[in-house]
Symmetry: C2
Subunit: 464 residues, 2 copies
C-alpha cells in the first residue's frame, strides 16, 4: 500500500502545481506528433540499407559516421560533429563447426568478440559438456585439458531482458574460465531465445595473464542437437568429437568516433540533456534493433522538440561509436566531459530495440519530484507504467553518469523478443514494428519536452 499511497500523493502534487511550459512546448502536443513520426523509421531504414553492418573500427563504421553527420545536419541540428577516438579492433574470419563422431554433421557457429583463432586447420577434440556455467566452474582444474568445453543453458524470454544478466556470464566470462581450466576451445549455446540457425555473437574478455582461446557460439538448434548427441552417446560411453575452425584476428588500433548533434537551448547556464544511442553494430547484421532504431528514436524526439521552438536547455544527441566491442565511445565521451557537472543535467539512452516503452524509471533528486510526477502522468496515455526500480542508464552513458553523478530517466522498452535478434544476422529492418517505434518517439518526445523546458534543479546529492 505504501507504493499506491505515494502514487496518489504524486498525482495530487501534479494537480496543485502550476504549468511552467510555454504552449509551444506542450508535451501532449509533442506526444501526439510523435505518434505520427516518420523520422525514426527513415533513420533506421537509411542506416540499415545504405550502410548495413557497421562494426566498430572498420571502414563501414567510418562510412556510417559520414552518413550520420550528413543526416543530422540535414535534419537541422546544430553543432553536428564527429569526435574521433582510437580503439583496439578484433575482426571475424572464417568460421565452421562440425561433429566428427559418432553422429557427423555440420553446425552453425560464430566466434565471440576477442576469441582467439584456431588457425586454418581448426581444432579437433572431445567435447566436455556442462549444463551451466556453474557446472563448468565446479570442474577440477586441468580437467578440460585438450578438450572443447561446451556450456548450455535454459534462457527464456523476459519483458525486462533480465535473463541476459542471468545467462550472459557463460559468454562474458566463460571463455576466460575455460582457458584457466586448460580447455583447447570453448563453445556455448548462443545467449539468446530464438530457434533459428543464426548464432549470437558478442564480446568476451580474457583477463591479463589468461591465454585467449578460440570461443564461439552455436545456434540454439545446433546446441540442443549437440546436447542430445552427448546424452545419447553417453549411454554407450562414447565420446563426442567436434571440429571447430575460426580465424578471427586483432588488427590493432583503429579509429572510431562519436557523432554529436545539438538542439541548443535558450539558457546555456542550465545543465543540458544528454540523449544517447550507439551507431556501431555487430558485423553479422544491419543492426536495426541494435541500435539504428535507438538512434532513430532519440533523434526523432529531439527534432520534434526543436520543431516546436527552442527549448530552455540544450539537448545533446550522442550517437556513440564502438559500443558493442567495449563501450569505447561512452568512455571517450566521459573522458572528454569529465568533471563538467554544470554542463550535464540528465542522461538518457535508447538501446534495447524498437518495441514499445512499457515502463519509465528515474534516478532523480528530491528537488525534481514534481517533474517526475508530471512526466509519469504525461506518459500514462501511452500505456507506460511507473512501478519499477531506480533508473540505471544505458551502456554509452554509464561513464558520464558515474563521473558527473547525473540524474537519469530510463524509458524501458519491451524486451520480450530482443534476445531473439540480439547480435544475430537476423537483426534487420523487417523486425521493426513501425507502430511500436512511433510509440517510442512519442514517449521520448513527451519526456524531452518536459525536461528540456524545466528549470528544476536536477543536481543529484553527492554519492556516499
Amino acid at each position: 500500500m505504501r507504493k499506491i499511497s505515494s502514487l496518489f500523493a504524486g498525482a495530487a502534487a501534479l494537480f496543485l502545481s502550476t504549468p511552467v511550459l510555454a504552449d509551444n512546448h506542450d508535451p501532449m502536443a509533442l506526444q501526439a506528433k510523435g505518434l505520427e513520426d516518420t523520422v525514426a523509421y527513415a533513420i533506421t531504414e537509411g542506416l540499415t540499407t545504405e550502410i548495413g553492418p557497421r562494426q566498430a573500427g572498420t571502414e563501414a563504421e567510418a562510412r556510417a559516421r559520414d552518413w550520420s553527420v550528413k543526416k543530422l545536419k540535414a535534419l537541422g541540428f546544430q553543432n553536428v560533429r564527429n569526435e574521433p577516438f582510437m580503439m583496439t579492433t578484433w575482426v571475424r574470419g572464417a568460421e565452421t563447426a562440425e561433429i566428427l563422431s559418432p553422429y557427423p554433421q555440420k553446425m552453425h557457429i560464430t566466434a565471440l568478440g576477442n576469441s582467439a583463432s584456431t588457425g586454418d586447420g581448426g581444432i579437433e577434440a572431445e567435447v566436455a559438456y556442462f549444463d551451466s556455467l556453474a557446472a563448468m566452474r565446479a570442474a577440477p582444474d586441468g580437467s578440460l585439458s585438450g578438450k572443447i568445453a561446451f556450456v548450455t543453458h535454459d534462457m527464456h524470454r523476459t519483458q525486462d531482458g533480465s535473463s541476459y544478466g542471468t545467462y550472459g556470464p557463460a559468454r562474458f566470462i566463460g571463455p576466460n574460465l575455460a582457458s584457466q581450466k586448460g580447455a583447447a576451445a570453448y563453445v556455448i549455446k548462443s545467449i539468446g531465445t530464438d530457434y533459428h540457425r543464426n548464432p549470437h555473437t558478442g564480446n568476451t574478455n580474457f583477463r591479463e595473464g589468461v591465454t585467449p582461446i578460440p570461443a564461439g557460439a552455436l545456434s540454439l538448434p545446433d546446441a540442443d542437437n549437440l546436447e542430445r548427441m552427448i546424452k545419447l552417446a553417453a549411454k554407450t560411453g562414447t565420446p563426442v568429437r567436434m571440429k571447430v575452425m575460426m580465424t578471427p584476428q586483432n588488427i590493432g588500433q583503429q579509429e572510431s568516433g562519436n557523432v554529436i548533434a545539438e538542439v541548443t537551448g535558450t539558457d546555456p547556464s542550465k545543465g543540458m540533456i544528454l540523449i544517447a544511442c550507439h551507431l556501431d553494430s555487430w558485423d553479422l547484421a544491419t543492426g536495426a534493433f541494435d541500435d539504428a532504431a535507438g538512434c532513430g528514436i532519440i533523434t526523432a524526439a529531439a527534432k520534434n522538440v526543436m520543431d516546436h521552438g527552442q527549448p530552455l536547455r540544450t539537448i545533446r544527441i550522442l550517437w556513440a561509436g564502438a559500443e558493442e566491442v567495449g563501450l569505447w565511445g561512452g568512455k571517450a565521451y566521459a573522458e572528454k566531459n569529465k568533471n563538467q557537472n554544470q554542463n550535464h543535467a540528465i542522461a538518457m539512452e535508447s538501446d534495447f530495440g524498437a518495441d514499445k516503452v512499457w515502463r519509465v524509471e528515474y534516478k532523480f533528486p528530491e528537488a525534481a519530484k514534481d517533474v517526475r510526477t508530471e512526466i509519469s502522468q504525461a506518459l500514462s496515455p501511452l500505456g507506460i507504467s511507473i512501478s519499477g526500480p531506480p533508473a540505471s542508464g544505458g551502456a554509452d552513458i554509464r561513464d558520464i553518469i558515474a563521473s558527473n553523478n547525473l540524474a537519469i530517466i530510463d524509458l524501458q522498452q519491451d524486451g520480450t523478443r530482443y534476445f531473439d535478434l540480439h547480435h544475430t544476422p537476423d537483426d534487420t529492418l523487417d523486425k521493426i514494428d513501425p507502430a511500436q517505434l512511433r510509440q517510442n518517439v512519442a514517449a521520448w518526445s513527451t519526456v524531452l519536452s518536459i525536461i528540456s523546458n524545466s528549470d528544476a534543479d536536477f543536481t543529484m546529492p553527492p554519492k556516499e
Copy 2:
C-alpha cells in the same frame, strides 16, 4: 447447398451401413492410441540427431538408409529392405554474395540445386531488377546480357501452401529463362515466407540446349534490402553492382535408394496400401519438417495398425530416396512396380511438415463411397474437414499413381508455417510441435485401420 446435401447423404449412408471391422481394428481405438504416440517423434529425433542433413546421393543419405533399415526392423515390420538406384548428383560448394556499390554490404545467399558455378573468383555485374517472374519474361531477349538478373515476389503464408505454386516458378524455371535472355547469373528472393537470414534452396532445371548459369536465392531480409537499394539508387540513375560467388559441382552418378517395410496382410490377393514419405533432405538442415516427420507419422500409424493385429491388406511403407533433387525415388519405385495394378489399391503420402491435419481429400471410385464416408466421419473428432478438391497425392507416389491408376487419400496438413522453414537451415527438430505430430499419427492410424481392413473395391475407372 448441393455440397451440404451430399454431406448429409454420406452421413445417412454411414448410419445404415454395417460395421465390417473386427474389434481389434476399431479405428477409434487406434485413433485414441495415435494421440498418445511416441514413435513418430522418436523417428524424427533419431534422423535429425543421429544423421542430420542427408542429401540424396551423399554418404549421409547412405547412413540414413542403414539407420532406417535397422530402425524399421527394430519396430517389428516385415520385408524391410533397401532398393538401390542410381542418380545424378549435384553438391553445394562455397557461397557468398555482396553488394559492391553504391551501398556495399554482404548478403546471405544459397545456390539452387543444379546451379552452375561462378568459379572461385565469382561474378561481378550490374543487377537487373524485376518485381516478378512475369516482368523478367517481358524483358527483351539479350537485355540481360552480362547482368545479374534479380527477381523478387510478394509471397504470403497460406494454409494449403498454394502460394508455393504461385511464386515457385521464379525458382523452378526462372534460371532457365534468365539464361535464355543472356544473364550472367540469376538471383531470387527466396521462395519462402519467413524473415530470417536463411535463404531457401531447392531445385531448378535448365532445359536441354540452355546453358546453366549460376542461380541462387537471397534470404528474404537481404532481398528486401537489395530492392530498397535499387529503388533508392534509381533516383539518381545509379546502377547497383553485386558480386556473387557460388561453387557447386556435379559429381555424376551416385547411389541412392528406397527403404521399404511392410505390415503383411492376411489376404495377399487384395491390393495393398502404399504409404510414403521421403528419407532424403536438403543439405542445409536436419530435415525435421521435410521430411523426417512424414516418415515418423506414416510409420507410427502403420505400427499402430500392426500392434492391433494383422490387417486384411498389406501396408507397404516407402521411405523414398532422392525426392528433393528430382523425385528419383518415386520414379524408381514406379518403374519397378509398373503395370502391377493388382498389387496396389491406394496410395498416400505425408510430406508437408508436422502441423495438424486439417482436411481429408479423396480420389476414390464410386464403389468405395461408403468407405469414404466412414473415414470422413471417423476423422471428424480430430477437427478434420472434408470440403476440398480431389486428392492428388504426393511427389513420391506421383509416378506409381499415374502408371497404375491408383486411388488416393490426402491427409492435408496445415501449411501456414511450412514455407517459413522449407529448404532452409531452420528445418530442425525444435520446429516439431509434438501435439500436432500426434494428431497426424491419430489421423493416419484412423485411415489406415479402415482401409487396410476394407474389402471394398478401390479399382479406379480407366483414365479417359
